[in-house]
């Protein structure tokens, strides 16, 4: 009987392990994407120490915006396109308008195309780092400060930064 029990308990253990493994997959995928820069994930954290080191190279950065699930927002980049010098800090902003009369909360989620260049797009200041609170019918300017890393591969001439704005009012409860 001990053989049975050994098989039985090791299989039960394996089942429980695989269930936990499915949860482990969530951070594992994230770590994998962060290390490799795959999935278009830009650095979600602020770049604190920035060394400006401009070089004689210019790339086009395009800005796009989407409002998720028909949320009652108007969300637009102020510049649709910028020609920026590599290694130099740039500033721009997006505008967010609350089309309702009540206070709303919003969060933006960034993505960079081409995905493999996401890691060279470094954000110093970004509204995507925090929750935005916006009063009814208010229009807010959301600043963005970024730098394109000198290591950007030579064949890249255009980068597209896109933001999706989510309405998170319900997720935060009634505050």
């Amino acid at each position: 009987m001990s053989n049975f029990k050994k098989t039985y308990f090791s299989l039960i253990f394996f089942t429980i392990f695989m269930f936990s493994f499915s949860y482990m997959l969530v951070p594992l995928y994230d770590i994998f994407c962060e290390i490799t820069g795959l999935n278009g994930k830009t650095n979600q954290t602020k770049v604190i120490a920035v060394n400006e080191n401009p070089v004689e190279r210019f790339v086009t950065v395009k800005f796009t915006s989407t409002v998720a699930n028909s949320a009652p927002f108007t969300f637009e980049p102020i510049d649709r396109e910028m020609i920026v010098q590599v290694g130099k800090i740039n500033n721009t902003f997006y505008t967010l308008t609350n089309n309702t009369k009540t206070i709303k909360h919003a969060t933006a989620s960034p993505s960079v195309v081409p995905h493999e260049d996401a890691e060279y797009f470094k954000k110093i200041e970004c509204f995507c780092f925090s929750q935005q609170q916006i009063n009814g019918l208010e229009t807010k300017e959301l600043p963005l400060q970024f730098i394109i890393d000198n290591e950007l591969p030579n064949d890249t001439r255009t980068l597209i930064l896109s933001y999706t704005m989510f309405n998170t009012t319900d997720q935060l409860g009634s505050n």
Binding site: Y8, F19, S22, V26, L38
Partner: protein, 525 residues
């Protein structure tokens, strides 16, 4: 081999009579039969849903059902066929066959066995009851991709909970299979002397234990995302909807092989029996099955080439996917080599097994086409995909199950089915299955998307043909039911060794076998 089991001994067991016999039974044959009957019923339930789909698609435009209900039908058809028809059928075959193939008296964990069966009817009652809800059943596809699946109505938590129960049932079944095979083989039966069906089921059981908990985890995350404020797949909270696809297909691809590996085992059993030769390349069959199982864990993202993966990822998954063609090819060539210069006869099980080889190979080739990233960008989510996975699941898994039923039915019941009707059933099934699914390749390549209730008029002719085929296929299965009942009505006349070329311990038992198969372990040399 000692085979003199006293038939009188059969009456010594004490079981309650009537319905309680079936509710309380811990006998592998009873439970195997219940699994098989359950699977047959679910095959017809899922089949009816498929016919709703095909009736609506008979011509362009919306005629019979509203799109929302159509989506519920595509979702439920898949869930019912995968978890209700094919998987329980294989577990039923395992229950019947494993003990009598390895010389054991019963399964290792008989009470667990009873429980893992009886979870199923409850799970499916719950899942199917959602169709009668005001907001209808699940309609986001069986893959349950968020955010769409999270926007479903009241059916959502019921679907998730029934998937949990189905997963639990499969995991318990798999634990039982492994415990039986590893601990209860007859003396002298080493692993490499096991019948190939036993081998394929052992590997399948490991796949089940490794992948079903991941599905359970994925759907639990969906559940907590919807009701408990977690943000696993919600982009606004830092989650990622594409993450679900990764986790789901980490389960999903091994699941595909769970649905086909036991079928490989069945075909590898039947082809040698009717070719009157030993299986060609037994060892390579075992290794091929094991390598398919291992590869299944590193190919998942080929289901999601269009999700926006980087080139390196696409290439990795493309090549690993194509790698699977090698062990699968080994199997197909081994089957052909088994038949080479054999004294072949073509009884119904053999016909189904032969059709399996031909038609499954067609499905395998369309799978290779889908594995190519640049081509997949066009094929993704079209009817070409529908044609592909129906070719590997219907003339693949389902034909193998039918072959197995015809092959072992005389052993289980002691009664011979009507060979003429069996052949008629085979030919009707094979003709209609091709009529149904072959035109789907063409409409898919021409760009018809899957999971839509209406389509552009240029697809009309092929869709009409497919619908005629589907109704023909469905009606042909009524003949199968008739053959089953017709057989059960007969007197016990089948010999112990029903098929001349059949090999294995099960044929040393009387037909039908006694309630407790091998009370004294047979010796295998």
């Amino acid at each position: 081999m000692s085979t003199n089991i006293d038939k009188l001994h059969d009456d010594h067991h004490h079981t309650p009579s009537g319905i309680m016999r079936w509710i309380t039974t811990t006998n592998h044959k009873d439970i195997g039969s219940m699994y098989l009957w359950f699977s047959l019923i679910m095959f017809f339930v899922g089949g009816l849903m498929a016919l709703v789909i095909r009736a609506e698609l008979f011509q362009p435009g919306l005629q019979l059902v509203v799109p929302g209900f159509f989506n519920q039908m595509t979702t439920m058809h898949a869930l019912v066929m995968i978890f209700g028809a094919v998987m329980p059928a294989f577990v039923g075959l395992a229950n019947w066959q494993l003990p009598i193939m390895i010389g054991a008296p019963d399964m290792a964990l008989p009470r667990l066995n009873n429980w893992s069966f009886w979870i199923l009817p409850f799970a499916f009652t719950m899942m199917l009851s959602t169709l009668f809800f005001g907001s209808g059943g699940p309609a986001a596809g069986w893959t349950l991709y968020p955010p769409l699946s999270l926007q479903g109505g009241d059916s959502f938590p019921f679907t998730i909970l029934s998937i949990h129960m189905l997963g639990l049932s499969s995991i318990l079944g798999a634990i039982n299979v492994i415990a039986t095979i590893l601990n209860m083989r007859a003396p002298g039966m080493t692993l490499m002397k096991m019948p190939i069906f036993v081998w394929t089921w052992l590997i399948t059981a490991f796949l089940l234990i490794a992948s079903m908990p991941v599905l359970a985890g994925a759907v639990t995350m969906l559940l907590t995302d919807k009701f408990f404020g977690t943000m696993f797949f919600t982009a606004s909270g830092g989650g990622d909807p594409a993450m679900f696809q990764h986790i789901f297909w980490f389960f999903g691809h091994p699941e595909v092989y769970i649905l086909i590996l036991p079928a490989f085992g069945i075909v590898s059993t039947i082809i040698p029996a009717f070719s009157r030769k030993r299986l060609f390349g037994y060892d390579s069959m075992v290794y091929a099955t094991a390598s398919i199982a291992l590869l299944s864990f590193i190919v998942w993202a080929h289901h999601m080439f269009t999700v926006g993966m980087p080139l390196a990822g696409e290439i990795f998954f493309m090549f690993t996917t194509m790698l699977i063609a090698i062990p699968t090819g080994v199997k197909v060539f081994n089957w052909v080599a088994t038949m080479w210069k054999g004294s072949m006869t073509f009884e119904t099980p053999m016909l189904f097994a032969l059709a399996f080889i031909v038609l499954f190979t067609i499905g395998g080739f369309s799978g290779l086409m889908l594995a190519m990233v640049p081509a997949d960008f066009q094929y993704h989510d079209t009817y070409f995909v529908v044609a592909h996975f129906h070719y590997v699941l219907v003339p693949g898994a389902v034909f193998a199950i039918m072959a197995a039923v015809y092959y072992w039915l005389p052993k289980w019941t002691g009664k011979m089915y009507n060979e003429g009707l069996g052949k008629l059933h085979f030919w009707l099934t094979t003709i209609f299955v091709n009529l149904t699914f072959f035109p789907m390749h063409f409409v898919g390549l021409a760009g018809m998307p899957r999971r839509i209730p209406d389509y552009a008029v240029q697809f009309a002719d092929f869709n009409a043909i497919a619908s005629v085929g589907a109704f023909g296929f469905g009606l042909s299965q009524l003949l199968f039911v008739y053959i089953l009942f017709n057989t059960l009505k007969k007197d016990v006349t089948a010999e112990d060794k029903v098929w001349e070329g059949a090999e294995g311990l099960e044929w040393t038992l009387p037909s039908p076998p006694p309630y407790h198969s091998f009370e004294e372990a047979p010796k295998v040399d």
